[in-house]
Each structure stands twice: as structure tokens, then as C-alpha cells.
Amino acid sequence: MFDNLTDRFEEIFSRIRGKGRLSEAEVDAVLREIRAALIEADVNVGVVRSFIERVRANTVGEELFRSLSPAQHVIKVVNAELTNALGGENLKISYASKPPTVVLMAGLQGVGKTTAAAKLALWFRHQGRNPLLVAADLQRPAAVEQLRVLGGQASVPVFSVPGDPVNTARSGVEEARRIGRDVVIVDTAGRLSIDQELMDEVRKISESIAPNYTFLVVDAMIGQDAVNSAKVFNDALALDGIILTKLDGDARGGAALSVRQVVGKPISFVSTGEKLADFDLFYPDRMANRILGMGDVLSLIEQAERTLDKEIAEKGAKKLKGGKFDLEDFLEQMQQIKKMGPLKGVLSMLPGMPKEIRNADIDERELVKVEAIISSMTKAERTNPDMIDGSRRLRIANGAGTTTTAVGTMLKQFKDMQKMMRSMGMGGPSPTKKSPNRSNSKKKKRR
């Protein structure tokens, strides 16, 4: 999400960075480019206009010309406005003092409401709650069945009665009270914002169950229309937040920005994958940092703490410091990193990652191959790769199901890497740009 936006901003800023003076025409040109970047990211035209106007109001004038580095000033203003546009705190759920806490899900067709409902149920379960899912989408064929299956996967009971959706929703909340579930999530039928009848229906559902939280489910791929439909839903239902789905695609997600601006409601949750667990609270401030290329270190730390084995990580760090990082450690650490999820995701959270790396086509299967090669070595070979001669190489290749060339290349790359790590020590600048022999070894590679 927003990755392309980050790239575009980087590109635009790099052209003015370091300029001693900025003429008004130059500022105009930058603003035009920012406008194009935002529109291409599906931010609403109206929202873009007011964004640009605010930036312009804060950049032109005396301050800009007094500033020692005018470009820096422009960047600062854009950053501030962007943080402001996305800004706000993340959602902190306050549970109803008299359970159950009622949650209503609404949205257009096909945005992923039913799946989001099940994911939210699982999220509540992980918070130590006992949710009940209520299937009040009686419109789409087999929607109830879909929620049943998903509820089964999340180990959350699903309630539904055929007939009238308003009645179903109400009975669902009563059922939760009766069997002592403390959170009720009501899934409703997808509807078009211009369909008055269906909008009335969802309003009636809302009135009859008086939800504590009403979430609008929005597809991250949505275009300019996001603003219209969000407005209509907000008028009918008084939304509490937005759930943004399908963030695992390459949509630029500008709609998130416009919806927040126009409706004034924050993004509360994001859904980032096909698995039910791929769902989490949204942290607006962290996302703003990510857009601006400042990385999302907080999320990374949390994720690292959750998944990494501290001892192994510390051991690795020590070895790194002492310059004794060998293949054995590499294997161990690699297995750790894998636990943190797809490399690309982890990478996007790192600050200061050059674009070439963020966008590199990462094939996770390569990791498996590397792992297989190292696993096929003896302990001694792993600590002292120099001892690997032709026959050992052949044995390793056979064990890993690959060629001796691949083993050779891997060893050479590891050596390069060792050198690189030694030269940069800990926490130095990003090493990847000045990797030695890069073009050389690329040429040598063949498959």
C-alpha cells in the first residue's frame, strides 16, 4: 500500500532537493507533480485540490524565500500535510459495559465484508473475547453459507435465521446475550450507495441493534467513487471507522486518504491477506511515516518481538559484531526471519531502504534453495566454507538437489556478504548499494 506513492514523492523531491533557490514556477511544477501522483493513487480529485491548496498556502510567501533550503521547506510542508491527512490515533475498542458489544459491518458489494467479518471475529477472539457472527446478508446467494464456513475456520459460532435481515440481526444480538457471547458482529448484504431501499434496510438494522461500532468495509482498489459511497453510508449509519481490505494487492490505496478527509472517520482495521489472521489494527501515524519513506519501525519491532527467538537473535548479533558470522548462523537467522512473514512486507517497514531494494522482485523460493544448500553441508563446512572443494561441492549439490555451480555461486555470494557486513559494522548505512562485484557476479550467473 502507498508504495508507489512513496516512490513518486521520492522522485519529485529528489529533483528539487539541494537547490539553493526555488522560483515560484518551480514550486508550481512540484505541486503539479504531487497532484498527479496523488490522483494516480486514486485520491479523490477534490481532496487533492484542497491538499495542494493547503501546501501552496504554506509554502509560497516570505518564509519560503527566507528559508536557507527552500526545497527542504516544501518537503517539510508536504510531509506535515500528509501526516495530517492520514493522521490520528489508532482505534482503541471500548467494550460495552453491558455485553454484548455490537459491531455492524456495511459496505458495497464485493469489498470483502463477509471475510472481514470473520477476520474481525478472529481478532476479537485473540483479544480474549467470545464473539458471535450474525449472518444478515440474506441477499447474495450462499452468503450465509460462506460465513458459516469462515466462522468454522475461526472457531466462532455463526447465527442466522432466514427471512428478514432486520429481524435476523436483532435475533442475533438476543442470541448472543442468551448464550453469553460478549461481542456480536453483524454481517450485512452489500449494497450500492444509490439503492435507497437497501440503504433504508441497513439503517433499520442499525436502529434495531444500536451497534457500538459501525464499520464501513472499503476495497483498497476503489477509485474516485470511494468518497461518494462513504458519504452516503456515513449519513445513513454514523460510521465509527473504516476497514480497508485487499491491501495485499498493489493498489495504491489513495481512497483511504480521501475517505478519511471527506467523512472524517479513521481507518480502523486493515486486511492484508487471504488468511483469516491477516488482519490488524491500522496505525495512521505509522502509515504516514511509511509513505514518507521513514519506515515503520514500531510495527517492525512489535513483529520482531512477537516472532523472533530472542536468544538466537542475540547470538547472531554478537557473532556479527565479532565478524564471526558463518553459514551456520546465517541458516539459523534465516529461519528466524522467515517467521516474520514475507520478506517484502518486512522490508517495506525498514527506514531508508532504497527503492531498488524495496521493489526488487523477491522470490521467496530462492531462500528455500539457499536453505537446502546450507542444510546439505556438514557442521565443519558451515563454519569454514573454505574447506569446500570440488568433491564436497558435488556432494552438497546432490544433497540439495541443485548444481555445483549453484553451490559455488551461493558460497561466493556469502563471502561477498561477509565482507560487506564486516565493512559496515552494525547499523551503518544501507550496504546494498555498494555491494562489491555486483555486476560481475551477475554476469557469471547462468541458469
Partner: protein, 374 residues
């Protein structure tokens, strides 16, 4: 905090180096030339095939004549009409009108690049003709928009030998299954015998949803257990259609984001299965949601690359969305928009016509009755 820092440092160093490692490996092998053959040569279309909008009489009783595209376009049309109304009233050279026009095009999700192209083109043609009035400007813009559409038949193609196979693909939640239901109804009203292949074995209850459509339209359905190999479902459907002398197999597929390379590989395999005798694959239809923004273009590009789409089905055009992205896709990839969904009823899937679409969008005269309707 110290341990956290250490953990983090290791993570960063390792990730950076691993990436360095992996990206070098994978970059050097840069995917072998795509072997997915793209259908460029479809069997010649026989005149009686395809779905003619005028075939109202032959629809079964519950399938009344196709909906009116104007009604479906609803708001989109209204916005444009208003705009064109104001253009007509203006003198065409005012900067403000051009800006309004730009906004309107951008708001339809046409995208920055095409919007600029349309506006620049219109300005250039106005300059050459020397016209400055509003009417001339409206005509020029319309002509520019018209030129973005490809000149290609938008009829759905049947092969000469049965069974014809249509593969329906797209990202999650665009309305694939519903579109297939409507397609089945169209084909049935054309006296075609249809088998639906429940190739979405991933989404919970997708097959049930398709089953309901099969019952509603009198089509046959082949389904399997959840998680089954979709290719086998498609294979079985074609076998069944051939054995029983059915005309058409419409294959549903699980929604997949075009960024999931393993799922796109699965789709390639599905296509190969659908191409195999006795089936005759004539259509790979990409279903695009009209509310989709600029990502729709990426979707079209990626699906075209993977399985060679022959047409676009634009759904949910009855909302306030304008589907400009489908036009962008048509202009860039040359893949025609073949059908549009303008409502929830079976009959609300209609054959697309660029001229009707533009007339409806830009029809100034009838904006009053539309406002009333609204």
C-alpha cells in the same frame, strides 16, 4: 530496550543482506519468456452467434429485454450531462471550463494520462478548426473519447464446434459468479445448452452460489469439493458438455489478486485445460468492477499477460461509479469492453456499445428527466 535494539539490528542487517542475496539470484534469472500463448486468432464468428441486444422475444419469461444503458449509468451520466450543459453554454475557450472537464474525466477514473490525452487532443482539434463555441468543444471532446475505443466486435464468440468454453477471471469481489449467472441466462435465452464449471473451489460457498444460478437458469453444473484442483473441475465440465452435446461451458474461477504469482500460475494451467479438446476456448473474460480505480489498469495488464483476455465485463456500473478505468484498459490493451452490468437482475447484463455509452453519458437533452428520476 537493549535487546530490542539488538534484535532489530540483526533483523535489519540480515534482511538487508538476505534481500541482497535473493534479489541478485532472482534478478539474474528474470522469468523465462512467458509461454502463455495469447489468443489472437479466435475462430471466426458466425453471424447468428453472439448476443444481440435485440433478441428480446426469445428471452424466457423471467428474462425480460436488456436494460437500458442510460438508466444504468445513472449518476455518472448526470454529472457529465451537467458538465456538458455548462460547456454548451460557455464559450469554449474559457480556462475554467477546461478545468471542470478535467475534473469530470478524472472523477470517472479515466486516469491522469488519458485525461490529458483527451483534453490535449480536443484542444488541438479546436485550434485547427478554429471553433470556439461550447458545442464545438463538446463535440471535440466526445470525438476524442470515442477514439479511445477499439474498433472490434463486442459480441461473445462461439466456436463452430461444440462445446465452446468461456473462462471468467478477475480479482476478488468484482462479481464474477454473478456475471456468470447472467451470462448463462443470456446463453439460455439463445437456446444454448450450458454447463457451469464451479472452478472457484477456494472461496467458501462459491460453488453453492453458482449452483443457485444454475438452478435459476436451467444450466447444468459441475462442482467439486472445497479446495479441489480447479483445472479438474473445468476438465470434467468440458468432458460432460461434450458427452451430452451441450453448447457452452462457462468456467468460474476463484478471485485472485494479480500480484499472487502462484495463483496466476494456477490460472495459466486452468487456461491450458480449457483449451484442450474437446473444448474450444473462445473467450477469456476479465470481470472489472466499475468502482475500481487506477489499479484496474494493472489488473487488466496482468491478467492479459497471464491468460490473454479477450474481453472485459464491466460490473456494478449502476452505482455512482463511472467505470472510466475500463476505458483506460481498452485504450491501453486494445481489449474491448464486451458487456456491462447495470443492475442486479438477470437481464441487467448488456452488450456494450461505445456510441450508446457516450451518447448516454453526454446526452444533454434528457438531463431533466434524469434529475427527476434521481
Amino acid at each position: 530496550m537493549i535487546t530490542v535494539t539488538i534484535v532489530l539490528a540483526v533483523a535489519i542487517v540480515l534482511i538487508a543482506s538476505t534481500i541482497y542475496f535473493v534479489s541478485r539470484n532472482s534478478r539474474s534469472k528474470l522469468s523465462p519468456p512467458s509461454n502463455s500463448s495469447i489468443v489472437t486468432q479466435l475462430p471466426p464468428k458466425s453471424p447468428e452467434t453472439g448476443i444481440a441486444p435485440g433478441k428480446a422475444e426469445s428471452f424466457p419469461e423471467n428474462l425480460v429485454p436488456p436494460a437500458d444503458i442510460k438508466r444504468g449509468l445513472g449518476r455518472a451520466r448526470l454529472a457529465f450531462s451537467r458538465l456538458f450543459g455548462s460547456i454548451l453554454g460557455s464559450n469554449g475557450s474559457s480556462q475554467q471550463v477546461w478545468e471542470e472537464l478535467e475534473d469530470a474525466l478524472l472523477l470517472s477514473d479515466l486516469g491522469m494520462e488519458l485525461t490529458n490525452r483527451v483534453l490535449e487532443g480536443a484542444k488541438a482539434s479546436l485550434e485547427s478548426t478554429g471553433e470556439t463555441d461550447g458545442l464545438g468543444m463538446a463535440e471535440a471532446v466526445k470525438a476524442q473519447l470515442r477514439s479511445l475505443f477499439v474498433e472490434e466486435s463486442r459480441d461473445l464468440v462461439y466456436s463452430e464446434e461444440s462445446p465452446t468454453v468461456w473462462l471468467v477471471v478477475g480479482v476478488n469481489g468484482v462479481g464474477k459468479t454473478t456475471s456468470i449467472g447472467k451470462l448463462a441466462a443470456m446463453a439460455a435465452s439463445d437456446d444454448r445448452k450450458v454447463v457451469l464449471a464451479a472452478g472457484d473451489t477456494f472461496r467458501a460457498a462459491a460453488a453453492d452460489q453458482l449452483q443457485m444460478w444454475a438452478e435459476r437458469t436451467g444450466a447444468d453444473i459441475v462442482r467439486s469439493i472445497p479446495g479441489a484442483d480447479p483445472s479438474s473441475v473445468v476438465f470434467d465440465s468440458i468432458q460432460r458438455a461434450a458427452a451430452r452435446g451441450f453448447d457452452l461451458v462457462i468456467a468460474d474461477t476463484a478471485g485472485r489478486l494479480h500480484t499472487k504469482s502462484n495463483l496466476m500460475d494456477e490460472l495459466r494451467k486452468l487456461r491450458r485445460t480449457a483449451e484442450r479438446e474437446p473444448g474450444h476456448l473462445t473467450e477469456v473474460l476479465l470481470v472489472l468492477d466499475a468502482t475500481t480505480g487506477q489499479n484496474g489498469l494493472v489488473q487488466a495488464r496482468e491478467f492479459a499477460k497471464a491468460v490473454g483476455i479477450t474481453g472485459v465485463v464491466l460490473t456494478k456500473l449502476d452505482g455512482s461509479a463511472k467505470g472510466g478505468i475500463a476505458l483506460a484498459a481498452e485504450a491501453e490493451l486494445g481489449v474491448p469492453i464486451k458487456l456491462v452490468g447495470v443492475g442486479e437482475k438477470v437481464r441487467d447484463l448488456i452488450v456494450f456499445s461505445p456510441d450508446e455509452f457516450l451518447d448516454a453519458l453526454l446526452d444533454v437533452d434528457s438531463q431533466d428527466d434524469l434529475s427527476n428520476e434521481d
